[in-house]
């Protein structure tokens, strides 16, 4: 199933994005500014053990001069995400997928919908233009950094499938962390192709199961 496409000019189109994905993306700025964000929003430019007078002066300069610039960079990345979400278009591909699903499920799906269990969800396409690819990568990275700082108890904790002893909050964080991580992969490909001056060709995603955990509906 193809769920994203590179555009000819080096952008990314996400196809048939469902409400669950949209919610995770809309929450991104709040997550990225929440607990755990201080690690990258107010980074120490020196070894934390360095307590010399010279280090103290440099840290003060960093807070006064560099940190405001970092905040501006990071906040602009959030704006890039919101800008794309605000331009979401109804997905023709998504409608086709819904139709196929109905045909496959037949009466069972119809009855389920009539019982009020699940209504039809709106699927949209999102187009990330080339000039916003890097900002999107950065915004998703902020989300992952903040979630990891807040929830991970070990280095690979949020990558773990073993969640038997974990809280609902941790599972919620893990879902967001993995979603952001997987969305970063095609963005990273575009950034590499742009840096190396390669054509923005779509690779074969037939065997790409990265998104299978996150069906659009």
């Amino acid at each position: 199933m193809r769920l994203y496409e590179f555009t000819d000019d080096g952008g990314l189109q996400l196809l048939a994005v469902g409400p669950e994905w949209m919610e995770k993306l809309r929450r991104l700025p709040a997550i990225a500014r929440g607990d755990g964000a201080e690690r990258f929003r107010a980074p120490d430019p020196l070894d934390p053990e360095n307590r010399s007078p010279e280090a103290s002066a440099l840290r003060e300069d960093w807070v006064d001069l560099v940190v405001p610039d970092l905040h501006e960079v990071f906040d602009n990345q959030h704006c890039a995400v919101i800008e794309v979400l605000d331009k979401a278009q109804p997905s023709e591909f998504g409608q086709w997928m819904l139709l196929q699903q109905k045909l496959l499920q037949g009466d069972a799906a119809t009855e389920k919908n009539e019982e009020g269990g699940e209504g039809e969800c709106e699927l949209v396409d999102l187009t990330i233009p080339p000039e916003l690819v890097e900002s999107w990568y950065g915004a998703l990275n902020q989300g992952r950094l903040a979630l990891h700082a807040r929830y991970a108890e070990s280095e690979s904790d949020l990558d773990s499938a073993d969640d038997a002893s974990k809280s609902d909050a941790w599972k919620h964080a893990r879902d967001h962390y993995l979603f952001y991580s997987r969305l970063q992969a095609p963005l990273m490909q575009l950034m590499q192709m742009g840096f190396e001056g390669k054509d923005f060709e779509n690779d074969d995603q037939e065997d790409d199961e990265e998104f299978d955990d996150y069906p659009p509906f």
Binding site: R39, F40, P43, D44, P45, L46, D47, N50, L58, V66, D69, L70, V73, Y137, G138, N141, Q142, R144, L145, H148, A152, E155, S156, Q184, M188, M191, Q192, F195
Partner: protein
């Protein structure tokens, strides 16, 4: 000792070039990238290539050093430029710091 003198370049004897032979006595600073559990290896390689202009092989070497040793000195030189590099690395959300060479 500091001196400034003129030299004639071999390829163009008609042009005098000022060669500055002053030696800076200020201790150089190093830019260090530290390991973190979130940023991917590919992203770190790309960031090093873009910021420092290193070839892919050199950027990979530094990235793998970060990955295995926890840190890698990626640049050394004047303090102002080292500060700029750390600023740029922080903007790229990498964990980076300045150190005096030899610390």
């Amino acid at each position: 000792m500091m001196s400034i003198h003129a030299v004639d370049p071999l390829d163009d004897p008609g042009t005098a070039v000022m060669e500055d032979t002053r030696i800076s006595t200020a201790a150089p600073w190093t830019v260090v990238i530290h390991d973190d559990p979130v940023n991917t290896i590919e992203y770190v390689i790309l960031t090093i290539q873009r910021l420092f202009g290193y070839a892919r092989a050199k950027a990979e070497h530094h990235t793998m050093e970060v990955h295995h040793m926890g840190r890698s000195i990626v640049w050394n030189g004047a303090k102002e430029k080292a500060e700029l590099y750390v600023h740029q690395l922080h903007a790229a959300q990498l964990k980076a710091s300045l150190e005096r060479a030899g610390e």
